[in-house]
Symmetry: C2
Subunit: 188 residues, 2 copies
Amino acid sequence: MAGAATGSKDMAASRLLGVFREHGYDGASLAELSKATGLGRSSLYHHFPGGKEDMAKAVFDHIHEWMEISALAPLREPGDPAERLQKMINAIDRYYVGGYERCLLGSFVLGGSRGRFQPQLKSSFSGLIKALAALAVEAGASQEQGFERAEEAVVQIQGSLVVSGGLDDPAPFRRVMERLPRLILGRS
Amino acid sequence: MAGAATGSKDMAASRLLGVFREHGYDGASLAELSKATGLGRSSLYHHFPGGKEDMAKAVFDHIHEWMEISALAPLREPGDPAERLQKMINAIDRYYVGGYERCLLGSFVLGGSRGRFQPQLKSSFSGLIKALAALAVEAGASQEQGFERAEEAVVQIQGSLVVSGGLDDPAPFRRVMERLPRLILGRS
DNA sequence: ATATCTGAACCGAACGATCGGTACATATCT
DNA sequence: AGATATGTACCGATCGTTCGGTTCAGATAT
């Protein structure tokens, strides 16, 4: 049992994530956070002494870890760029349940709590863009092209989640997922 | 002075818009809505008997009206498609202050209050997509192509507002604004 | 003309409920 | 015993909403 030390806290964070995802930061109440985790109020404050804000930070860590392991790691493996990109796309598709689930990052950006979490948001978005840009460069793009393609990819992912949510129709998200390989790897 | 009858209610709605835009639905408190409009709490309830939800609905109407007049009307005028599109792009750019201001539609989609306003959200997004699609078709695209381009345009606008907000950098939004003409009107 | 009535617009105070957060005594484990 | 974890009861602040009451322009009545 070497690396399994993150156990209970990580479990809590994933439950908290669900609540923040559904209600946003302001909309997520301690009552629901408590119910979702199965922890009483004081237990929550034991694990997250900084209160609600601390819980949200833990959720960011959780997301960061997920992104690193499930989305970015495949991009850095050896092998065919197209295959590695597809692994990441599949991970993202699973994460957003085909476009039916909201993005917590987007929710925090557009919600009233942007300022509080700007560093985490910035780090998440730029990390994602950088990893995708590296892959694009590997696939033959120039540094500048690679960055532009990567930024556009993240823009389209985020935008499609908003539009799919607004239309109550996962099709826009699905179409973006299909466009991603050509967008990142080039037009041929 | 014929059509100026929408006066005070519309004025209030535009002030309310600012608060909802900045704090989201859950984050916007009656105290701030009152301060922003200059109306006391109970005066707000006089104009919006349905309370906070009613105020948000009024804000949607306000947005719908703005979109119809400032963004969509130019698209329907006679004249060069590229020029008409550029008018709309300029209007959007002004509306989001070059990427520094949030989108209320996106905020409501990603926030906890999506279900309450789904009809309005759906109508706004699909109206925008339809108008852009019509212009694309006029510029030579097939029906299907036109719709795809229009959807992608809205996806990119929304996505760039999220990414620009997350990175605290208006550049992604600006780049999308620059890409829009080619995206809608075709590659040539 | 002037007194009377009406109703829209407005207000601050107060409501019950819930908010995020704390204190503390009791478990549970080592 | 001593540290870690949890449940209960509670705090003041703020939430969205409602209430009682005032102001004042304009219609109506005499």
